[in-house]
């Protein structure tokens, strides 16, 4: 049985989530990452995707577009200005965002890094709607 550790998700306007979890998966910039208790202190940043917080009783899922993650002293800190609980998305909103991202992706001055981020954004958004 994995042990619990503290998780905080903070947006500029308020604290979105504060609680404990067994396992948290985060969409780190270099790939999906699972965090358990006693992880080494780490700082990394995120690409668009889902943060999944798995506690002993319940599961929470958040979608975010960017963010900074810090893990130290068994506290996982996620700072993001675009975080949202995936239940709160409406269908129209998702479609609108997908359309916009697709349009941006086809622009000529889109750099490789932007393309990388946008493609994950589209994929993530599509997954919410399913």
């Amino acid at each position: 049985m994995p042990e619990d550790f503290k998780v905080e998700i903070i947006s500029p306007a308020k604290i979105i989530f504060k609680g404990s979890a067994n396992l948290v998966t985060i969409p780190s910039f270099e790939g999906e990452m699972g965090v358990l208790k006693n992880h080494i202190p780490i700082v990394t940043f995120l690409r668009p995707g889902f943060v999944e917080i798995i506690g002993s009783q319940k599961k929470e899922k958040f979608f975010l577009e960017e963010g900074i993650v810090e893990f130290s002293n068994d506290t996982l800190l996620i700072l993001s200005s675009t975080v949202k609980n995936s239940k709160e998305f409406s269908k129209d909103e998702i479609q609108e965002q997908i359309d916009k991202a697709t349009k941006d992706l086809n622009l000529e001055d889109c750099t490789d890094k932007e393309k990388y981020i946008l493609s994950y954004k589209i994929e993530g958004l599509k997954n919410i709607s399913q």
Binding site: I10, S11, P12, A13, K14, I15, S28, F29, E30, I40, P41, I42, V43, T44, F45, E66, I68, E70, S72, N73, L77, L79, S81
Partner: protein
């Protein structure tokens, strides 16, 4: 001596002004509570991001070559100043205090032969600065048609600042805002956001050196900093906006409270004058009647 009728009108108008100021005070008090909550909720984010940056700065191997946002352009010639004020007046010394501080800084910088670029956020700041420093203002923003400031607005300003920084339009960036201490005191403040103020960083580094953790960075420190520093700009601006919003309401509440009290005093004085002059005219009429009767 004004006539009775005039006095009556005067009293009535002061009373209705008092009603308005009282209502404004109530509204400001209600809004203040909300703005204060928002400002407090916003603090963890900016504090934490600040902490992470501090830790990162310590572990950057080659600070000379890292992001320009951190170490500056190496020059100290052009200053970009963001003056943040309210969009509405009638809030005591709120706007004037920020502008006063900003003007003092402008004067000093100009005497040191620096080049100034001013961005005003909020209409009142623009109104107060356009006369003296109008030619330096390169951009004006306001949130008149927005009900509540959100992060996206701060982000817009942040983007504007960053774009100009990339074009080498300025070397240092300062923001002017009111720091919300409590309802009665708001302290106008100047903060340097580009480059990330070195003096502060060094001071805090010394303090925290014992507690600092050795982090694993993924990707490299430099890359994280590249991503984090622009975000920090928007975060600092957002924090300033929130502090400003709370200060504005606090300031307005105090100002309107004073105004209500002053109006009360004025009504009292005017009523006394009114009563006296009414009495005087009655006495005068009586004397006239009596002397008329006597002469018969």
């Amino acid at each position: 001596m004004p006539s009775l009728d005039d006095l009556k009108k005067r009293i009535k108008s002061v009373k209705s002004t008092q009603k308005i100021t009282k209502a404004m005070k109530m509204v400001a008090a209600a809004k203040l509570k909300k703005a204060q909550d928002d400002a407090e909720k916003g603090r963890p984010y900016s504090d934490k991001i600040h902490n992470i940056i501090l830790n990162l700065t310590k572990s950057v191997a080659d600070p000379e070559n890292s992001s320009k946002l951190l170490v500056g352009t190496g020059n100290d010639k052009t200053y970009l100043c963001l003056v943040m004020t309210a969009d509405r007046g009638l809030c005591g010394g709120f706007n004037t205090n920020i502008c006063k501080l900003a003007k003092k800084f402008f004067k000093q910088s100009l005497s040191e032969k620096k080049i100034l670029k001013i961005v005003t956020v909020g209409t009142k700041g623009f109104d107060q600065l356009k006369k003296e420093y109008g030619k330096f203002i390169i951009e004006k923003r306001n949130f008149k048609n927005v009900k509540k400031v959100s992060f996206s607005q701060a982000n817009e300003i942040g983007k504007f600042v960053l774009e100009n920084f990339k074009k080498n339009e300025f070397d240092k960036c300062f923001i002017f805002f009111n720091n919300f201490k409590n309802v009665i005191t708001q302290v106008p403040q100047m903060q340097q956001i580009i480059p990330v103020a070195k003096s502060v960083t060094e001071l805090e580094t010394q303090k925290e050196s014992k507690t600092s953790n050795l982090y694993e960075y993924e990707p490299e420190e430099e890359e994280i900093l590249e991503d984090l520093l622009p975000k920090n700009i928007s975060t600092q601006i957002f924090k300033a906006l929130l502090e400003n919003a709370a200060s504005e309401q606090g300031s307005r509440m105090t100002a309107m409270d004073n105004a209500t009290r002053n109006a009360g005093d004025l009504v009292e004085k005017l009523t006394i004058t009114y009563n006296r002059s009414r009495q005087a005219s009655i006495t005068k009429e009586l004397i006239e009647i009596i002397s008329g009767a006597e002469s018969l």
